[in-house]
Amino acid sequence: MDCINQLAQCLNQGGMDSGLAQFISIFLGVVLVATFPLLVTILLIWVERKFAARIQDRIGPNRVGPFGLLQPIADVVKLLSKENITPAGADKPIYNLAPPFMVAAVLLVWAVIPLTPYHFGVDLEIGALYVITVASIGTLAVMMAGWASNNKYALLGAFRVVAQLISYEVPLAMAVLIPVMLAGSMSLQDIVKAQYGMWFVFAAPLSAILFFISSQAETGRAPFDLLEAESELVAGFNIEYSGMKFAMFFAGEFMHVFTNGVLMAVLFTGGWIGPFAEQAPLLGLIYLLGKASVWYMISLWVRNSVPRLRIDQMMDFNWKFLVPMSILNVLVIAFLLQVIKQVGLTPIDPNNFIQNLPQTVVLLLGNVFVGYIMLSWVRSKGRQARAADEAKKMPAAAVHAVGD
């Protein structure tokens, strides 16, 4: 934002009317911030395919350009040349608006992400809430896509996707509450700056895991990708889309996963914080992208390794496990924060690593406690279910034994 103001002043001094100068500099800033993730996405297409290939013990794209690096360009050219078949009876305005809006919902998140100590789109004072808000716009776009295709399978697919998306927004928002609580501010830049002393992933690992799992589900990534499973429900809500519109849905999904990686980095692992980040802002950007890439790789790793969940398993997992766990997590951390305050362990200087240690250890123990409770509860449920299964099999085995 500072750069934008400086550019506006520059133009103003050059003789332009100040309001117009402001508008032009805002416009340029927006275009710059919005183009960055689109360019990253082009690289991501290659990364995804190579990574998936290596995990599956094959090579992946390696013909187009060195190491297959130009493969995304080949993909884009191919998709550009595909015919845009609009199904008969489709609601044209809504049908055409859905793909751009889905991508826009992801792009909008980048407006508030602090890229370096001094460069960001805007530092909204409600940054964290804005991120969650924009996620809910994406679900609307999916609904519109499913409806406007005039295809009942697309509509069914869209309903399931929307049910999944709205369900997993609850633990996502609850997990975001913790960094807000720990930092005392919703602004993403403040949250990053509050991690000088200790990254939040050490003080609240359970929230990080909750956020990670929920964001995987929000983007429709394995193990939650029943709805884009190519072998299942005939491709779901984007079945009637072809050509570039389909490409936009896919590109939007890759961008969303990377954006979630960036959000993980900002909210839990310190964003642009690293040695010499204040003096050389470019280093801050590199740290942020590096951390985001680590989280992105982890999500790719999970995607290529685990089987998918059925829709009822997904919903049960969310409402009967994740939501209670996130609620318990919020309560326990809130309680421990108060206790820490009373006992006097609150770090006086939040930027000091050593002073942050006692608080971090206490919160970490709280997290472990919550995790232990939830996991042992799930274990006992699992044991009950297994015992019930054995009991059902038992009479049949007894009958067999008697009959011999």
């Binding site: 595909k82 793909p99 792009l107 805007v122 913790i178 809130a334």
Partner: protein
């Protein structure tokens, strides 16, 4: 005034963000062939002809999930300012938040018990 500037950025972003992906789509419309015929534009149903009205079966389950999500969304809305101001507050704030969350968790367990959360 500076705050309004920030939101002007967001406002312009809201306008530009759908336009940027629309550009490749328009480019595609220019380069792609455009030869619609009755078979290509027919609704896709695994290769079979569509019979009858396109009607989606009404499942109460979707609506219930939507309602429970709505209630938790409003709960989130209340919890965000609470979490924001939490560090400056004392145990009374924790108690108030605990009561608030506890009542809503109660509702969740009620829904659970009544099998409203099971996807049939």
């Amino acid at each position: 005034m500076n705050v309004l500037n920030e939101w002007a950025f967001i406002g312009v972003f809201f306008l530009i963000a759908p336009l940027l992906p629309a550009l490749p789509i328009l480019l595609g419309a220019v380069f792609a062939p455009h030869k619609p015929n009755a078979i290509k534009t027919a609704t896709y149903e695994c290769g079979v002809e569509t019979v009858g009205d396109t009607w989606v079966q009404f499942k109460v389950q979707y609506y219930i999930y939507g309602l429970i999500f709505l209630v938790f969304d409003v709960e989130m809305v209340f919890l965000f300012p609470w979490a924001l101001a939490y560090k400056q507050l004392d145990f009374f704030a924790f108690g108030a938040g605990l009561l608030f969350i506890f009542l809503l968790t109660d509702a969740l367990f009620y829904a659970w018990g009544k099998n409203a959360l099971t996807w049939e």
